[in-house]
């Protein structure tokens, strides 16, 4: 352990570039979030989703006319496969669904019928927000506790809060991407999306902890070095692991994306975007943030 410096990569030299890159990704997403918001699925808004398969191709306007004649409020029709369509409506009952299918023709196969009442949707929204909030707080507290032995004068709370800053970065990257996807490709976010979000949070912190853990371990060993040098050294040490782990996760997710079923496609996309962002943010956001904060504190 004699020559720490020789093959250490000077990560911190480019810290402003990392932040700039993050902003480059974040800003369009956040603008989209403000301007277009998110396309919320019936899980949140309440409504009906009907996926039906026909023997032959059907005209959208025909489906619209049929729905209109039954006085059903059809909000969108989307092809979801060969002669298969995804209809979105204001909540309808099972009988109305039967009527609709009967009116559309005899050889209609129902693949999916989902109806969510508005009250249930509202509850899910509240629960989802609460879950993300509680997860963030629980993680700050856990990290502050896990890193309580960080040598003075460094503060374990700064570790925790830097980790959560990286986590929020990932959350907003995913939200931004899905806001854009929603606007341009009508991708909706549903209960599974919230699940993906929380999983991303878990992974992001997972990565950050591995880096921070190494910083904690190296601090007493490298007492003569500056905090920046310790972080650089720790990042160099953990880089291969971070990349390898993310590679395996990204490989399995890609397999799920390519070969897995349609129903979880966007769930997997959310995980892929989030976990890629999580790998980036633990190295290029969480650690530089900690360095900035600690060196700022030292000056005072």
């Amino acid at each position: 352990m004699t020559d720490h410096a020789s093959d250490t990569i000077d990560f911190m030299r480019w810290k402003w570039a990392y932040f700039a890159f993050s902003l480059l990704i974040l800003v369009p997403g956040v603008i989209s979030l403000v301007a277009y918001k998110l396309q919320l699925a019936i899980d949140f808004t309440g409504g009906t989703l009907l996926e039906i398969h026909f023997q032959q191709a059907l005209d959208n306007s025909h489906i619209r006319d049929v729905a209109k004649s039954l006085r059903l409020e059809l909000s969108s029709i989307q092809p979801s496969g060969e002669n298969t369509y995804l209809l979105r409506l204001k909540p309808i009952t099972a009988e109305q669904n039967e009527e609709l299918k009967k009116a559309l023709g005899s050889n209609v196969e129902e693949k999916r019928f989902e109806t969510v009442g508005p009250v249930v949707g509202k509850e899910l929204t509240q629960k989802a927000l609460a879950a993300v909030g509680i997860a963030s707080i629980a993680i700050v507290v856990y990290i502050a506790w896990a890193f309580r032995h960080v040598p003075k004068p460094y503060s374990s709370w700064k570790f925790g809060i830097s980790a959560v800053a990286a986590l929020l970065h990932d959350v907003f990257v995913v939200l931004g991407v899905f806001s854009l996807l929603g606007h341009f490709y009508h991708v909706e976010i549903d209960a599974l999306f919230v699940t993906a979000m929380l999983t991303v949070i878990g992974f992001s912190v997972h990565d950050t902890i591995v880096v921070f853990d190494r910083v904690r371990e190296n601090l007493p060993k490298m007492a003569d070095k500056s905090f920046t040098e310790v972080v650089n050294f720790s990042l160099t040490e953990t880089l291969v692991r971070s990349l390898n782990t993310s590679m395996t996760v990204i490989l399995t997710l890609t397999a799920l994306l390519l070969f897995g079923g349609e129903p979880i496609r966007w769930f997997i996309v959310a995980l892929l975007v989030g976990i890629t962002s999580g790998t980036y943010s633990s190295i290029f956001n969480a650690a530089p943030l900690l360095v900035l904060w600690e060196s700022h504190a030292k000056k005072h």
């Binding site: 996926e51 009952t93 099972a94 009988e95 039967e98 196969e109 129902e110 999916r112 019928f113 989902e114 109806t115 969510v116 009442g117 009250v119 249930v120 509850e123 629960k127 879950a131 997860a135 629980a138 993680i139 856990y142 990290i143 896990a146 209960a191 599974l192 919230v194 699940t195 999983t199 949070i201 878990g202 992974f203 912190v205 997972h206 990565d207 902890i209 591995v210 853990d213 190494r214 371990e217 953990t238 692991r241 390898n244 782990t245 590679m247 395996t248 996760v249 490989l251 399995t252 997710l253 397999a255 799920l256 390519l258 070969f259 897995g260 079923g261 129903p263 979880i264 769930f267 995980l271």
Partner: protein
């Protein structure tokens, strides 16, 4: 050595749990055992079948909201339980196999969650399931005789007689001149009430109400004392069957209405199963190759551990048992990544220790020892989020959270205990 035996035993047990119900080996066949024993007064029974969620086998998921407005606060739990039992009776009468009926509470709202696997074309039956089905017989209000000619139409013209669905022994579909009717047999108590009612009202119209709607208003010809009555309406055979079913199951103690419904066609479910098996296999194979390419012989050991991870986690899923959903499979596949992560952390650490000039045996032990902090801390944070997911979610979200928790737990065991044992085994041999 003890550890190797321990691991082998666990793997054999897991293999038995995971194997298909019957396994043909040439002319021999192996049968998977069942778990069935008693712990004190609690019976533990597992048939060790893989339980598939509705999104994988097709079916209907329903959420009913119970209207508790007329139930005194102290009786709510009892009322919701009675409603649940009643729904179960109705669904069993419908002939749906293995329904799952749960109660849930959200704030002050009481709900019943009904899962009907593989059910096809039961949409029309659904409205029936949710009907309160309060049957009662009423007689004309006024003393002035009402003749059949001016049939009273409004419900205000009738008054309750005390003869209700509770007095019913059995309801059956019968045929009267080729038309479907519902035949009623009363209990002795009901028969007495019905005799009173018919004796009192000869020549008058009495009304049969279902949930405050007149479904039949026959004119009494003679007093009926044998406790048998018939409801004639313009029933189709199907409608008559459903009415008989409802009457046999009894009225719901509280009115309920549908607030959520999800149907998944069986074909979509089968497609999803095939696709996720393919995706999981490809994902697994790629990770296997990746580890082998990066870590050589150690990677191979990690691959063995990964195989055991798959075996053990499916065994745990079967034993608990966890209902496997599409998202749940994604959870298991995702934790392959976590399972490998622990090994990557350890192997990288071993490399470093070697670089720092430690002898191989020390580097191996230190690698496991020093990587442990990171592995523990990072997995606890994943468990925290998985736990919150479990609390937050229902249905598929909960399935995902559960398999993720199982995945994390099992992966810790396989990637640490199993890999370490295998490593020790190999490096001890090679030194000889």
């Amino acid at each position: 050595m003890r550890q190797i035996v321990f691991i082998l035993i666990i793997c054999v047990l897991a293999g038995i749990v995971v194997m298909p119900a019957t396994l043909k080996l040439g002319s021999y066949a192996l049968y998977r055992p069942r778990v069935d024993f008693s712990l004190g007064s609690k019976r533990v029974f597992r048939d060790l079948e893989l339980k598939l969620g509705l999104d994988l086998q097709g079916g209907t998921h329903l959420v009913y909201q119970a209207d508790m407005a007329n139930i005194p606060a102290g009786n709510i739990d009892e009322a919701i339980q009675a409603t649940r039992d009643n729904l179960e009776r109705r669904i069993n009468l419908l002939g749906v196999a293995e329904p799952v009926i749960q109660t849930s509470q959200a704030g002050s709202q009481h709900r019943l969650i009904v899962e009907l696997p593989g059910a096809k074309d039961i949409n029309t039956a659904l409205t029936t399931i949710g009907q309160t089905a309060q049957l009662d017989f009423r007689e004309p209000k006024t003393a002035s005789a009402t003749s059949a000619a001016d049939l009273p139409a409004g419900r205000q013209d009738f008054t309750a007689t005390g003869l209700t669905g509770r007095d019913l022994k059995i309801a059956q579909v019968k045929f009267d001149n080729g038309k479907a009717v519902v035949g009623l047999d009363f209990t002795p108590e009901g028969a007495r009430k019905f005799a009173d009612l018919t004796t009192k009202n000869i020549g008058k119209t009495v009304a049969i109400f279902l949930d405050n709607q007149i479904i039949s208003a026959p004119t009494v010809q003679t007093a009926i004392t044998d406790g048998a009555a018939v409801i004639t309406g313009n029933f189709t055979i199907e409608a008559a069957k459903q009415l008989a079913l409802l009457l046999n199951a009894g009225a719901l103690p509280v009115p309920i209405k549908i607030v959520e419904q999800r149907n998944v066609g069986a074909t979509l479910g089968q497609e999803s199963i095939n696709k996720s098996i393919l995706a999981a296999s490809v994902g697994m194979a790629v990770v296997w190759l990746f580890m082998l390419a990066n870590y050589g012989i150690k990677g191979l050991l990690a691959d063995v551990a990964l195989g055991m991870y798959l075996l053990l986690s499916i065994a745990v899923v079967k034993l608990i048992p966890i209902t496997l959903t599409l998202a749940g499979i994604a959870g298991l596949v995702l934790s392959i990544g976590m399972a490998v992560d622990a090994n990557i952390l350890i192997f990288e650490r071993i490399k470093e220790e070697l670089r720092w000039g430690r002898p191989l045996s020390a580097a191996l032990e230190l690698g496991f020892h020093r990587a442990w902090n990171s592995i523990r801390d990072s997995n606890i944070s994943s468990l925290i989020t998985a736990g919150i997911l479990f609390w937050f979610g229902s249905g598929s979200v909960r399935g995902f959270a559960l398999t993720l928790i199982v995945g994390i737990g099992v992966s810790l065991f396989t990637s640490i205990t199993i890999t370490r044992t295998l490593l020790r085994l190999i490096y001890d041999r090679s030194r000889l």
